[in-house]
């Protein structure tokens, strides 16, 4: 009888139970409480300050509600969106850094894998469980900010503002997904949870602090010594942006800018020719803003999938025995 090498049975057998267990574990864990406190402390302060400032603004602003997210108060130069830019990676790393290696250290992996499931289901269930936890937390945070805005500004948001804010929430979850996949990857590579956490945090610090400087240095190194035309300037600028956009944080902050500041038309410079007919300061319609940030959102999701795929490949080759 000729035997095919293909394995039989769905790779998603058992995905549901794994997902439910991971989700329940995350929500009931002490770590989650700590992360929530952390998020509230870091998120509440910018929001409270920006709300205080916004209450004194009298000028008519069609997107007043969105300013809650983006306004950097004078006393504390961090907007809520910027705060999220570094809280989300920390949360995602906190949720994922020990997800696979803890199964090794608790010696549960071989027992769980001797049940009728494939490794695919285990890894995907862990990822989706973490992502769902992240989504629930961010949505709750988002709703709290929205509610606080309603109460303190006494002004209902317009439909388009709600839509923009909802897309902002989606972008935030996708951004979290990238870092969750990164921490999952490290938890597959390193058997020690401490090493995995250290590497994930190190990568985060690298992208957050060092990468902007490195990208600038590389760009300057490749730029011609004298920039003679606008085209040359644009080319150099494009290269700088391309390098910066390797960092998920850049993609996220650009997406936030495009969504929450409707006036944003481009992230770089506009040539005078492109500015023809533009009313300065006029907002873009929602669909145009969405089109502007579409590459950023796609980039985030693609990054998440690529990193997860790497974790998947490594996990499939891993020996089960501890």
């Amino acid at each position: 009888m000729p035997r095919s090498k293909a394995r039989q049975g769905s790779p998603f057998t058992g995905l549901g139970p794994v997902f439910m267990k991971e989700f329940a574990d995350h929500l009931s864990s002490a770590r989650m409480t700590v992360l929530l406190l952390f998020v509230i402390a870091f998120g509440a302060f910018p929001v409270a300050s920006s709300l205080q400032e916004l209450r004194t603004v009298s000028a008519a602003d069609p997107f007043l509600f969105l300013r809650i997210f983006t306004l950097a108060p004078e006393r504390m130069p961090i907007s809520f969106a910027l705060a999220l830019n570094f809280i989300i990676p920390l949360m995602a790393i906190g949720l994922g850094f020990d997800s696979v290696n803890s199964e090794f250290s608790r010696r549960t992996l071989s027992r769980v894998l001797s049940q009728p499931i494939y490794r695919d289901a285990l890894l995907l269930g862990k990822f989706l469980g973490g992502l769902a936890t992240l989504a629930v937390t961010l949505t709750a945070l988002w709703l709290i900010v929205f509610g606080a805005g309603l109460l303190l500004l006494g002004l209902p948001p317009r439909g388009v503002e709600v839509a923009r804010a909802a897309c902002f929430l989606m972008a935030a979850i996708a951004y979290g997904g990238v870092w969750l996949a990164v921490s999952l990857l490290f938890s597959v590579i390193f058997r020690s949870a401490a090493t995995s956490a250290l590497c994930a945090l190190g990568l985060w610090l690298f992208f957050f602090l060092l990468w902007p400087m490195i990208a600038e240095a590389i760009t300057l190194g490749f730029a011609p010594s004298q920039i003679r035309s606008a085209e040359e300037f644009l080319a150099v600028e494009q290269m700088g942006f391309a390098l910066l956009r390797l960092s998920p944080g850049t993609l996220f902050s650009e997406a936030v800018l495009g969504l929450l500041n409707p006036e944003t038309r481009t992230f770089g410079s506009l040539l005078p020719a492109q500015m023809r007919g533009v009313i300065p300061g006029a907002p873009l319609p929602f669909d145009q803003s969405l089109l502007l940030i579409w590459p950023q959102i796609t980039g985030l999701i693609a990054g998440m999938i690529v990193v997860f795929a790497a974790a998947y490949v490594i996990f499939q080759r891993e020996e089960v025995r501890a």
Partner: protein, 312 residues
């Protein structure tokens, strides 16, 4: 179909150039307890992992209950219970929650699962700690919880990797009773161990692993005959006369070796206890002890590896 639940033919596993498992053949019959013995690193765990499809083999075929663990791992794992070496559970969950998770992975309907969990815990005498967190469990209790998982799963084959390592004598005894219980329930048991005297008491057949190969296979008596030579060994403790000289004359006695402190080890080709006793008493000696020496697996094991080392 034959009565074999596990059929292994020419199974090999290479790690780089090292042969962890080297072309082994092995059959486990329905309802028997089969022991895989051998020093650490002889390939026992690797063989077990290949049976479950948790490690890919480098060659050979495996058939578990009519399924191929490489192509149909889900079917195999649905029917085979596995207790890994030093099994781990989720410490922050209770025993019930741990088993419930397994039941969900096995897609056992919820109402059915609760009944099966409590029955299984009853079976391994852990019913009173069903709702205690596993972090409070001793090593022996964890092993028993692992057995409960296999019972709950209603597995047809149970594969136990070093089930008694690290347990105190009492816990070991209890665990071996549970393994016998599995056999009574019609489950074929494959267990690996390096604790020989314990294994000897439960195993119907054993295979002795050495450097990835099966050196010897059969019942304990068969192995003893093969390694220690055929014959009935006796232990004689007597004084007063020249025992060696007196016993050489008994028909059937092959060798008489002094064991020190007034004891002799006698090997005969048949059961010569009555004749030996008569001879000693009739020649005026005082016989204080006469025992039939059961071939011990420990002896087989030690002797075999001594010889293997000499040969090498």
């Amino acid at each position: 179909m034959s009565d074999d639940v596990i059929k292994i033919r020419g199974l090999s596993k290479l790690y780089g150039a090292a042969r962890a498992v080297d072309a082994i053949d092995l059959d486990v019959r329905r309802g028997e307890i089969f022991g895989l013995l051998g020093p650490n690193g002889a390939g026992k765990t690797t063989t077990i992992l290949m049976l479950l499809g948790l490690t890919e083999s480098s060659g050979g075929t495996v058939d578990v209950l009519g399924f191929d663990p490489v192509r149909q791992p889900l079917e195999v794992k649905r029917r085979v219970g596995y207790l890994p070496d030093a099994v781990g559970f989720y410490d922050h969950l209770t025993a019930r929650e741990n088993l419930r998770y397994t039941a969900r992975l096995l897609a056992i309907p919820r109402r059915d699962a609760e009944k099966r969990i409590s029955d299984a815990m009853e079976n391994v005498q852990l019913a009173d700690v069903l709702d205690k967190r596993v972090s409070t469990f001793s090593r022996g209790m964890r092993q028993r919880l692992g057995i409960a998982e296999i019972v709950m799963k209603k597995a047809e084959v149970a594969i136990l990797d070093e089930p008694t390592s690290g347990l105190d004598p009492h816990a070991t005894h209890e665990l071996l009773e549970m393994i016998r219980g599995l056999k009574k329930a019609g489950v074929a048991v494959l267990l690996s161990s390096h604790l020989l005297d314990r294994v000897q008491s439960v195993c119907d057949r054993v295979a002795l692993f050495n450097h990835g190969r099966i050196a010897l296979m059969g019942t304990v008596v068969e192995l003893a005959n093969q390694v220690l030579g055929a014959g009935h060994p006796l232990l004689v403790e007597a004084s007063g006369i020249d025992i060696a000289g007196a016993l050489q004359g008994v028909e059937g006695v092959q060798t008489v070796v002094a064991g020190g402190e007034g004891t002799w080890r006698v090997v005969a080709d048949r059961d010569v206890r009555a004749a030996v006793a008569q001879r000693i008493v009739s020649s005026g000696g005082s016989l204080t002890r006469l025992a039939d020496l059961q071939p011990s697996l420990e002896e087989v094991y030690t002797r075999y590896f001594q010889e293997a080392r000499h040969a090498a």
